[in-house]
């Protein structure tokens, strides 16, 4: 049947309606209620919310967002390290979203208010420019998954100014899929994988996962039709009991991926176990600089004094925050007692509300997903 996936004109509403009907038919053929699938990419959730796709999904289909927001899964000690450096007088450059996320006691924004110098950049190349302008130490606090880590690696390999170093909080997605697949509470029957990460890693990287867990993985792009078609393909595989990897984004993803990018990535980084915020330990889930790069590793270049960073009153609402459950895909924002009332984009409590890719922030921006199933 691969016919659910003919050539796509990515924003054609007529095809969108046809795909939505296909999803309904496939869900019915599967027969379970709900059929739960998970995606692990903030950009997928943004596209789903922006286009209101959930209103077109059949009621029995549950599309859950998993731990796909890189800022949200940056752990407390990682933020504390950046905060500590800032309080120690080191200039810290980083992507904007992480600036308001609290570590144990403070966010980088708090550190800035206390005199720390924080620069918001849109690319590691801007951090390089900052380092070029003077002799002062500049640390790039590097958040993001493997696609973003590639950029950091490329920057280092291009011999940037000696006063630039990296505090890596980069993470690697495939290992966290293992965690989710192994959670006792998990109902996830299939995964939608992020098209841009797969552009780098290739689709073959999911073969071992699929073989081990018997769960299909479909790689999808980010246009509304990409997502609908990707879900249709995933439901087909679930219906037919075929745990396979299917590439529904062939214009960008190949089996082997981008070898040049991979080579750069693994020349600079290695995968180590580490904690993801709210998820706990993920084996091989963190990307840290290899020993050859010790001189560029902020953790080894500086003596980071965490004392000041963690000194302070933890946020009073923090105990009620359920970001961890939300990120693991076992709760949704509307279950959180703080969502939209005491936790809003203007005064966020948890990381999911701070980050533009956080589930709570996306839901808040697009009105959640009330039952807006299209009427005839």
């Amino acid at each position: 049947m691969g016919s659910a996936v003919r050539a796509l004109e990515f924003r054609d509403p007529a095809r969108g309606r046809a795909l939505a009907r296909t999803l309904a038919r496939l869900t019915q053929e599967i027969g379970r209620n709900p059929v739960s699938v998970m995606h692990v990419c903030g950009s997928h959730e943004q596209a789903i919310a922006r286009f209101g796709l959930r209103a077109s999904f059949p009621h029995a289909l549950e599309v859950i967002m998993g731990p796909g927001c890189p800022v949200c899964v940056t752990d407390l000690p990682e933020v504390d390290e950046a905060v500590a450096l800032a309080l120690q007088g080191v200039r810290v450059a980083t992507y904007g979203d992480i600036v308001r996320v609290r570590g144990t006691a403070r966010s980088l924004a708090d550190a800035q208010a206390e005199g720390g110098r924080i620069d918001v950049v849109y690319s590691v190349t801007q951090a390089i420019e900052l380092a070029r302008r003077s002799d002062e130490e500049v640390v790039f606090f590097a958040t993001g998954f493997e696609t973003t880590a590639v950029a950091t690696a490329a920057a280092l390999l291009d011999d940037p100014p000696p006063n630039l170093s990296i505090l890596s909080a980069h993470k690697f997605i495939p290992p966290v899929m293992e965690i989710v697949a192994e959670m006792p509470a998990t109902r996830v029957e299939g995964f939608l994988a992020a098209g841009h990460a797969a552009t780098i890693t290739g689709s073959a990287i999911f073969e071992a996962f699929v073989a081990q867990h018997g769960i299909p993985v479909v790689i999808a792009g980010f246009e509304p039709l990409d997502i609908l078609a990707g879900l249709a393909r995933l439901l087909e595989l679930i219906r037919d009991g075929m745990p396979r990897v299917a590439n529904m984004y062939p214009r960008c993803v190949t089996d082997a991926g981008n070898r040049v990018a991979q080579e750069r990535l693994w020349r600079v980084f290695r995968a180590v176990g580490g904690c993801w915020r709210g998820i706990a330990h993920v084996p091989n889930g963190n990307l840290r600089l290899r020993d050859e790069w010790a001189a560029r590793d902020a953790r080894r270049r500086f003596r980071i004094d965490l004392g000041r960073a963690v000194d302070g009153t933890p946020h009073t609402l923090a105990p009620q925050c359920i970001c961890g459950d939300i990120m693991a895909g076992i709760a949704s924002p509307d279950r959180c007692p703080l969502f939209g009332t005491r936790c809003t984009p203007q005064s966020p409590v948890g990381a999911c509300m701070v980050s533009s890719e956080g589930t709570c922030r996306i839901w808040h921006e697009y009105g959640g997903h009330p039952d807006l199933g299209a009427t005839a």
Binding site: D12, H196, A261
Partner: protein
């Protein structure tokens, strides 16, 4: 992160390219792109680095989606109105 809009390469200078995204030009690095890139090629960009050269055969398809979209929204253009009518008719035919 944005959805990764493909941009058109305007000029290449070593590992730097000037890329055009619907009239906005940005400097993009070519350190990690998977194929040699020349002016006229289309690339997928992520945080200032090209991560994919979109092959020629896919370019027309990818471009068509954006241009059809842009044309469809130009309500004053009689040709675009035709395109929209056709798509609507195709949808109706599928439903009927």
């Amino acid at each position: 992160m944005c959805l990764g809009v493909p941009g058109r390469v305007v000029e290449v200078d070593g590992f730097l390219a000037v890329v055009d995204f619907w009239g906005v030009r940005k400097e993009i690095r070519l350190d990690v792109v998977d194929a040699p890139v020349a002016a006229g090629d289309y690339v997928l960009n992520h945080v200032g680095f090209a991560i994919r050269r979109i092959p020629a055969e896919d370019v027309a398809e990818t471009l068509a989606l954006y241009e059809t979209l842009l044309a469809e929204l130009d309500a004053g253009d009689p040709m675009a109105a035709d395109v929209r009518g056709e798509l609507g008719a195709a949808g109706a035919a599928r439903r009927g």
